[in-house]
Amino acid sequence: MKRLISILLGGGLFGYGLAWSGMARPEVVLSFLQLRDLGLLLVMAAALAVTTIGFRLAPRLRQTTLLGLPFSHEVKPMLAGTVPGAVIFGMGWGLSGLCPGAAVASIGIGNGPVLIGLAGMLVGAYLQGVLAEGRPKLQG
């Protein structure tokens, strides 16, 4: 139950912030990428101010999380796909103005057409998964 409330609060704040920042609107993201309004940099800076301090401070103040779980100390490693994936993501982001989080939040602001983009993302993630894990066998 505490877990459920935490996820609803965390996801809720994340989505609320995405809507408030305007990033749930592809047009606002595109206006950044076309270098007409650099607001996206402020969004990232404000979010980073919170997480950079928080990710460091929390494990120093407590052994475990408020729910008694271990803190992740994940630092994303450099992998063969890191840069090629970023190139492909950048092309898609520049074409559509959509990234995964903003697209999910965009449903909440009533942006029906974003479902087309999310469907595309699931197909893209599926294709990447098949390439990475080998063609999945439908039979057991």
Binding site: K2, R3, L4, I7, L9, G10, G11, G12, F14, G15, Y16, G17, L18, A19, S21, G22, A24, R25, E27, L33, Q34, R36, L38, L42, A45, A46, L48, V50, T51, T52, F55, A58, T65, K76, M78, G85, A86, F89, W93, G94, L95, S96, G97, C99, G101, A105, G108, G110, N111, P113, I116, G120, V123, G124, A125, Y126, L127, Q128, E133, K137
Partner: protein
């Protein structure tokens, strides 16, 4: 106010602050750095034999549903509902590339851009520099080709 912030700075700063607080709630409770793009892979494990992110699929899907609710709450309380004019083929093709690219790169704007950079990951810093540069060039080219908005 003109360039670089023709629409002011307030909504960007408060939006980013709340977005960061949402990620902090996830870190302070579940202990996870909750980048968004993993939900694509994790949700696929419900309906395909793929295995990536399977163990986190329940909380990630719930997290995404909560994001929809949070965004709805903002739009409903600020009369801020919105339907994009970006064409369907750009959403479809762009989405496909975003889904493939973020999973290949193991991160997106939130996973690399916020969680990864906040963890001082060199891979994330490089990924952010690359996807920002490529996206800016792509968006400018699309604009120059006369595709609007």
């Amino acid at each position: 106010m003109g360039f670089p912030f023709p629409n002011g700075v307030t909504s960007y700063l408060y939006g980013g602050l709340f977005l960061g607080l949402g990620l902090m709630v996830m870190y302070l409770t579940l202990g996870v750095k909750a980048g968004a793009s993993s939900v694509l892979s994790s949700t696929l494990t419900y309906v395909t034999p793929l295995k990536a992110e399977r163990s986190s699929r329940d909380w990630r899907l719930l997290f995404a549903l909560a994001m929809v609710l949070g965004a709805w709450l903002y739009a409903a309380t600020h009369q801020s509902f919105f339907v994009t004019a970006v064409g369907w083929w750009r959403l479809a093709l762009g989405g496909l590339l975003v889904g493939f690219g973020t999973r290949l790169s193991s991160g997106c704007t939130s996973g690399h851009g916020i969680c990864g950079v906040a963890s001082f990951s060199r891979a994330s810093l490089l990924a952010v520099a690359v996807f920002m540069a490529v996206a800016i060039v792509t968006a400018r080219v699309v604009l120059l080709l006369g595709v609007t908005p």
